[in-house]
Assembly symmetry: D3
């Protein structure tokens, strides 16, 4: 991966918008990758669309009373400066160390991210001002909303570092997909496989679902035995 | 209890559908039973109806990389075979050891359960593909939804064993009732009592609520003192 | 604070209804107060209005089988008697020690609170019978709903004691504000400041949001540098 | 129980020193009492003797920055005043809400408790200065030691209130026994039974242990069947 | 694996006693096995020897007041009967669902296990009567000791089932090794590899440690580069 | 602070070795600093001496199967290279995100740190091979020991970054003191104060302890009222 801030190709985004995070974890599990789904981030608003983008990472550390204050928000190493560095199409992935009593961002910062074309915000922490954040239209995956600002418990450390988010290692530029079931990471080296196999996996599961709705029993159908595979292949060719 | 797979009598189901899980726990507490409400399972979809049925139990153990794989889903001791063994009207109760990062079932398995006439799915774990699962119409009580499949963290061990679910011991054939407040278990030996006293308890609490709405104070009303009891009995006879 | 049961002035309530809990935590943080937001209480029903009132405290301790029983509900030191002592406009704040498997109150007690003019119920525990509680119209902030009654895990200890709720010390008469982002406490000694600065803080953040929507970048805008402050002041005077 | 500060009779103390907390929980379980063992308190120093006394309760609530400070330690409602109120032979039982990052007491307060004849200190929280505390000779059951003082996270609320400690309701004057396996509470109403049956239970288990060491199998021995009971009775009479 | 109760060969036991659990996890990780170390079990007594044996599994489910009582200990599906079924040399591995407020076994049951030649007891729960248990000489890995018996929170479900213990799947007959760093499982299929490579891995790490003590820097030494490997091979031949 | 790798002055180290972490937290609390004690790190070996040094920070993120392997240990961004960069007298402070199932370091790495003159190792995670680590003589504060290596759950991210350790923000060069009660951080800007006031605070508390041992009551003594202060000052001059 040459440049972590290069936007994903539009076709890649379109293809991944048709592949569920459930399917992506199944495909990556076959490659031995189990730690790709982030524990914690959930949709802030019901019905958020599936989002796809390259990870733009941010990292917080715990607050210390001599350092965490509204004054720090004007520092050159602030979340404000980081946001101005986010490329269009990126997904901001924020390591808040799972903190659930200090909101990383509120409505103003989220509104600015929308203006910059950021696709989504994902964190293992929380936001503040849920109503305001949702009003900006930014799709957010987090652990909910609280009143206190980040200064109540966090200091911003840096951006575009390797981070952990919800038990998953995230490097700048990794591909992230988020939907109703949460957020998953696709390492760059596995993107081609997911693009190749994802749509077919969705098609196959759709076909199996039709058989279940017709009344078929599960053994031999899911996973498919040879007879079922043959029938599926025949149907596909029609 | 002779056969744990015998369906509950339709009248029993109808009566229990009119008794809230809150009321059932109150009645069982009077018998000294405190550990009957499952910690963890919550409605996956808002507005799910109250469900009643005999428990059909399933049990998972932690995954081990040499054993947990999509290939294992075709084994004779798989969730697929267990589902084909579920009788109509049963409630599947699944011991996932509280695991919240690997979904026990997705839409295909839930759709098959619907076809088999299963009344509900209850687990201290999670499902995957919330949208797909909800589309099957199966009422589910769980800790939410995630992307990874069971293979990411669980191996299926057996069905119709004694299990624990949300801190409650569940034996095959125990009666389970689930509603907005979660899932409770009625040991077979206490079913008759609950059937006898449940509707009356609901009626009495409804009468108390009417008094509160009229402006009555709580002491002497709830719980009732002798004067209130007399008034209630008089009203009942009308 | 002379009398913790004196109702808040109507104008104070009206002003605080226009200040978000997020803004209140920001103002109190500037005074060095970090532990004012309660960890745990969340709105039971979507769309609950912002609530404001003086805290009326209640305190539970763990159940002991020889003491926790429906019979205890008739004792002179019961929740029933405490409820009859709540003044109109108060917010009941309940220390349930974070217990999530025994509901402190159900629909009947909440209905009585509504009749007494109580503004809201806030607890670090849970309620029972969510549908019934919501039907009473009482705004509730809690950790969700369960079937078991308080007798399953709690004994009522006292009311109008100093308590802890969600990691915050609450004294009778402290001011409490709750909205979508949870509940915050304003110590009486800081009320005047919050009343003075809250509306201005909301106005200023609204102005900043307009600038963001116009496309302004964050550095220099939020927090404001001198040039932005001057522009803001000029706009205000218009 | 007339006066919670009356010391336990010396004979009662002597008898209970010969009955393990394990045996006490077994006897109380037969009476339906399950919630009598405190979750959290463990011996601070290896080899502490078994301690017996009436509970003298103390209660903390969370700190608030405007209230928690070294200055508060001089208030009339301080831990210092409470300690001066502790009778000889009492066991101080402290509700710290399970807080593990602020030590309730250090060496100075513990040394004073020793001077006042206090038998032990039990808390679901932690102490500070483990070496200093152990040097005072006061037997302590807690969750370990930390550097910060109570002011870092706690405010002292009151003494001789009903409290919770490690999930157990403790009322002033309840009997407490603590040993290697932690601390248990004997409600006053059950003291006579424990005194009557405890020593016999210990004797019986000792006899069973001798049989196991001779090579007896467990079924029929533990619990005893009729034949074993007869043999035990015969041995006892010798 | 034909019979899970066949004792391990004495030579296998002797070899594994010379291989640390740390080394075993390293060897199994190279085979892709990450979930083999049990989270929770720690040595009950300082200085316990390393123990090796085949797993004999036991499984508990949560207590229910109508089922969990001292009377149940005489049932044919009791822990007593299970213990009488344990072969000499086995390691009892007990799934207590991580329960830390009800001790699975006390001194009498442990003493009987010693008499039957059981090598060790491993559980993700706790024991009761730590002093008595340690006096039996049985090496125990657990989460500590408590006063309450299993009846306070657990019902015995079965033995020689597939279980989970500390997040690891354990099947009857799997090989278990426990030492100061806890307990690890070796699937039967990987035993030969561990026997072949373990002693060599220990030897190599000992040689590296000698180089560190001589003052060598880490890069190139650990892990070894080609030059270091050559030097090591040369030394080995001496 | 110009250079975070400059060793502390020997006199500074000597002075701080005479000031307990308890006293340091009291002094910093007076300056409004509450978040300076690390939650988690405890002495690995009983009786470890108090250690003092500048923080040398290391940071891990979660493992990903395609990245975490023994092979990664030879990378230029490895813990090995970081260790070779540690100056004599430093205290290594390691952000393991509180991970307790993968040991950050074992005996070989700790032995090398001893050779380089590192004063201590502090982490919110765990080590592996407790016996080997203790044999190296390196004083370690951590959450215990486990068998699996870091590769089982962690990837090394970087060194000399701002990190979080046990809820405390640690910057390279901050002063760290660790003893029986855990580890505290002294921001550089507050070092002079701690050096000035620490020894006096220890002296004063020693004098108070003598008074307690003579039988003085606490009120007026601790904290001191004016009369006590006068007496103390008089004694000091003797």
């Amino acid at each position: 991966m040459s440049d972590p801030t290069t936007a994903l190709d539009a076709e890649v985004v379109a293809t991944l918008k048709g592949v569920s995070t459930a399917t992506i974890t199944t495909l990556l599990l076959k490659k031995g990758l189990r730690k790709v789904w982030m524990h914690g981030p959930k949709p802030l608003r019901p019905g958020q669309p599936r989002c796809v983008g390259r990870a733009f990472t941010l990292r917080f550390v715990p607050a210390r009373e001599d350092l965490a204050s509204p004054a720090a928000w004007a520092s050159p190493r602030s979340t404000r400066v980081a946001i101005e560095d986010m490329p269009a199409g990126a997904i901001a992935v924020v390591d808040a160390m799972g903190t659930t009593d200090a909101g990383i961002f509120g409505d103003i910062l989220c509104a600015r991210m929308v203006r910059r074309g950021v696709s989504a915000l994902i964190t293992d922490g929380v936001v503040r001002d849920a109503i305001g954040v949702n009003a900006t239209g930014l799709p957010v995956w987090c652990q909910g909303s609280v009143a206190p600002s980040s200064a109540a418990g966090l200091i911003f450390a840096n951006w575009q570092d390797a981070i952990g988010c919800g038990g998953v290692a995230v490097f700048p530029g990794d591909i992230v997909v988020a939907d109703e079931d949460g957020a998953v990471l696709i390492p760059d080296a596995h993107l081609a496989e997911v693009l190749a196999q994802g749509p077919e996996q969705e098609r196959m599961e759709g076909w199996i679902m039709e058989r279940v709705e017709e009344g078929s029993a599960l053994p031999g159908l899911y996973p498919m035995n040879e007879a079922t595979k043959a029938r599926y292949e025949a149907d596909r060719k029609d």
